[in-house]
């Protein structure tokens, strides 16, 4: 079962906006997509093969490929390479797997489904887009590498796990949801956090408005690791105790950063 396969016909000379290229679309080759300052038929840029069966594979990929899987609601997209900005933008379901890295606004305003990116992601992972009040509201995002600035900005639900580092201002103005960062934090993580949970390895990099609330045996942790494979992998299956930092207290926030004691 291979589904549809898109193979680039050559190197891209301009940014390609793949909005609308979703698995399950019979007429993919005729789809008008943005190519630099022009519009082009997808078939001009990609060789389209295979059959529609809910899966779409993009061979090669490339940092020029913007908005891959934007608006996805079902099915699977696999990119055997990098993607540009806005991968999984406002998707509500399905699965997107990127074997390479992704640009800015990956999984921005995601409301469901799963996005897995093997490499690094740019700024504003899962964040709110222009003019939107809220970022990602549901679903799961797993990043194998590191994330750029403002990961999870204004996020209000769902789970983001970052295996690598998160640059400055991670979880800025985060409303709710769970953001786990295995690596180092840039400065001011969690600034303006209203609610929500950060899972961290160390408190270094937390914004100034966080205060240590001590070590606790949290039943919640036991529940989370049993309900989420991804969190189990991150927290350890026997997670139970954590040091809790409350914040951002500068703004009267009720969020928390938890450092799981292993």
């Amino acid at each position: 079962m291979t589904g549809l396969v898109l193979a680039p016909r050559g190197t891209f000379e301009a940014r390609v906006d793949l909005t609308g290229a979703l698995p399950g679309d019979e007429g993919l080759a005729k789809l008008k997509i943005g190519y630099g300052g022009r519009r082009a038929e997808l078939g001009e840029l990609f060789e389209v093969s295979g059959t529609v069966d809910g899966r779409l594979t993009i061979e090669g990929g490339g940092a020029e490929l913007d908005r891959v899987g934007a608006g996805l609601s079902a099915g699977e997209i696999v990119v055997k390479g990098d993607v540009g900005v806005g991968v999984g933008l406002r998707a509500s379901g399905g699965t997107i797997v990127v074997k390479g890295s992704a640009g800015d606004f990956a999984a921005s305003e995601l409301s469901g489904g799963k996005v897995a990116i093997a490499g690094d992601v740019g700024a504003r992972l899962g964040a709110a887009g222009d003019g939107s009040k809220r970022g990602m509201s549901g679903g799961v995002v797993v990043v194998g590498g590191s994330a750029g600035a403002r990961a999870g900005e204004r996020m209000r639900g769902g789970v983001i796990l970052i295996d690598g580092d998160a640059a400055e201002n991670a979880a800025s103005d985060l409303i709710a949801g769970t953001l786990a960062i295995a690596g180092k934090l840039g400065r001011n993580a969690g600034r303006g956090m209203k609610r929500g949970t950060l899972f961290l390895r160390s408190a270094e990099g937390l914004a100034s408005g966080f205060r240590d609330a001590g070590e606790h045996d949290l039943i919640m942790l036991r529940v989370l690791v049993r309900r989420s494979q991804e969190l189990a992998a991150f927290l350890g299956e026997d997670a139970g105790k954590a040091r809790r930092y409350a914040g951002d207290l500068n703004i009267g926030g009720k969020g928390e950063a938890l450092i799981v004691i292993r």
Partner: protein
């Protein structure tokens, strides 16, 4: 109004009073210009920057150039049209032009495709980050001038960019003020010139540790909203009390000066004002308006429906504030159309071709493929620009005969040659 001077070979010296200044967005209209032939000197009313930007020697403007060679204007326009015809991803950048110039950028970009951004839009989009998301309560220059009894300047002194700000909006007296006006600099210091303008106004400064403005405003927001935030430096309680008891408190800032976290600073300042308005009156004065930035954005909104940083592809507009920012767009652009009619702003470095519709005095790091010197709106031709408060727009007039064409005309002719 005119004062004929001398005669013979010396060009007639004409003094033009009450000239509207188009540069910073305050829209001062009491600048006096002395024009002798092509030479221009700003006198009374002009701040230092306006004087420098209005100043012209008597020399004839440079000719248009293609690949560094002087050519007739027509040839340069044709060359530009040809380059654009072949372009794949144009980036229209700079955008320092009047409303008419922006209209023509839209028309051309709609045809050629490509992204459009203004070179000074960073501050605008920091403001939009909040105004578009949650809105705000804002005010205009004359409201501040007459109503505001307490102004809080958030961050660096905006008068660095808006030279005559305080003289214009916070003079010693205001129509509805009962006592002296007070101005608090939060996390910034008034310049020496600002202090002179603020003579008769009670000036206070509240120092904020480096990088601490977001947290300070967070605490202010919390206190005004009835929460009890943690203690921090500075103590924001006195300012919160002052704002609550003010009749018309204004929080002002220059978004461009607020740095990378500026959007977060602004969001908190807006929240403070929002909360204050439940019981008393307050408003924001967001300042960002250099070189008709606001006018360009306004013209975009009514013509395209989107703010700046919009790209056109096959005639369809797509708004994306990060992807279509000039710096991002340049990574992909094979041609940059640099537009800067108000000042000799240098175009950014880029790999692609460069068409410059630029101020005659522009010094290029790299010779543009096509250089078309353009006139300055409000000096070489009439035009319309918007003030920083977005509501008022001011008419610019022609004050000398320079033969320099307007951006609108240049683009219109490029578009005409192209089709």
């Amino acid at each position: 109004m005119t004062e004929p001077q001398g005669g013979g070979a010396t060009p007639q010296k004409v003094v033009r009073p009450d000239v509207v200044c188009p540069f910073c967005g305050l829209g001062c209209d009491d600048v006096s210009l002395t024009v002798s032939g092509l030479a221009v000197e700003a006198g009374e009313g002009a701040c230092g920057r306006a004087a420098a930007l209005f100043r012209r020697g008597g020399e004839a403007p440079p000719a248009a150039r293609v690949n560094g060679y002087e050519v007739p204007l027509e040839a340069a326009l044709a060359a530009a049209a040809e380059l654009l015809e072949a372009a794949r991803s144009p980036a229209y950048a700079g955008l320092g032009t009047d409303v008419d110039g922006v209209r023509h950028v839209i028309k051309l970009a709609c045809r050629t495709g490509g992204s459009v951004d203004h070179y000074a839009s960073a501050g605008l989009f920091r403001n939009l980050s909040t105004s578009q998301r949650r809105g705000w309560v804002a005010t205009t220059l004359a409201e501040v001038r007459n109503h505001c009894d307490l102004m809080v300047v958030v961050g660096p002194d905006p008068s660095e960019a808006f030279h005559r700000l305080y003289a214009r909006v916070t003079p010693k007296t205001g129509r509805f003020l009962d006592g002296p006006r007070k101005i608090v600099f939060l996390g910034g210091e008034p310049s020496a010139e600002a202090r002179t303008q603020l003579d008769g106004v009670v000036v206070e400064t509240v120092a904020v540790p480096e990088g601490g403005l977001v947290d300070a405003l967070s605490r202010l927001q919390a206190i005004v909203g009835g929460l009890a935030p943690i203690e921090g430096d500075p103590d924001m309680r006195p300012l919160a009390e002052a704002l609550k008891s003010a009749k018309y408190g204004v929080l002002a800032w220059s978004a461009a000066a607020l740095g990378e976290d500026g959007d977060l600073v602004i969001e908190r300042a807006v929240a403070v004002v929002e909360t204050l308005n439940v019981e008393t009156r307050a408003a924001c004065l967001p300042l960002a308006g250099r070189d008709n930035l606001i006018g360009a954005n306004q013209a975009f909104l009514w013509n395209v429906g989107f703010p700046l940083r919009t790209a056109f592809r096959g005639g369809v507009a797509d708004h994306d504030q990060s992807a279509n920012a000039t710096a991002e767009a340049l990574k992909d652009a094979d041609i940059v159309v640099w537009i800067s009619a108000f000042r000799p702003e240098r175009p950014p470095a880029c790999d692609g071709r460069l068409i410059a519709l630029a101020h005659p005095a522009t010094e290029f790091e790299r010779e543009p493929d096509v250089f078309i010197p353009v006139g300055q709106p409000g000096l070489d031709h009439a035009g319309l620009v918007f003030r920083t408060d977005t509501v008022v727009s001011v008419p610019l007039k022609k004050h000398r005969d320079s033969s320099l064409i307007s951006v609108a005309e240049a683009l219109s002719r490029i578009g005409g040659a192209q089709s």
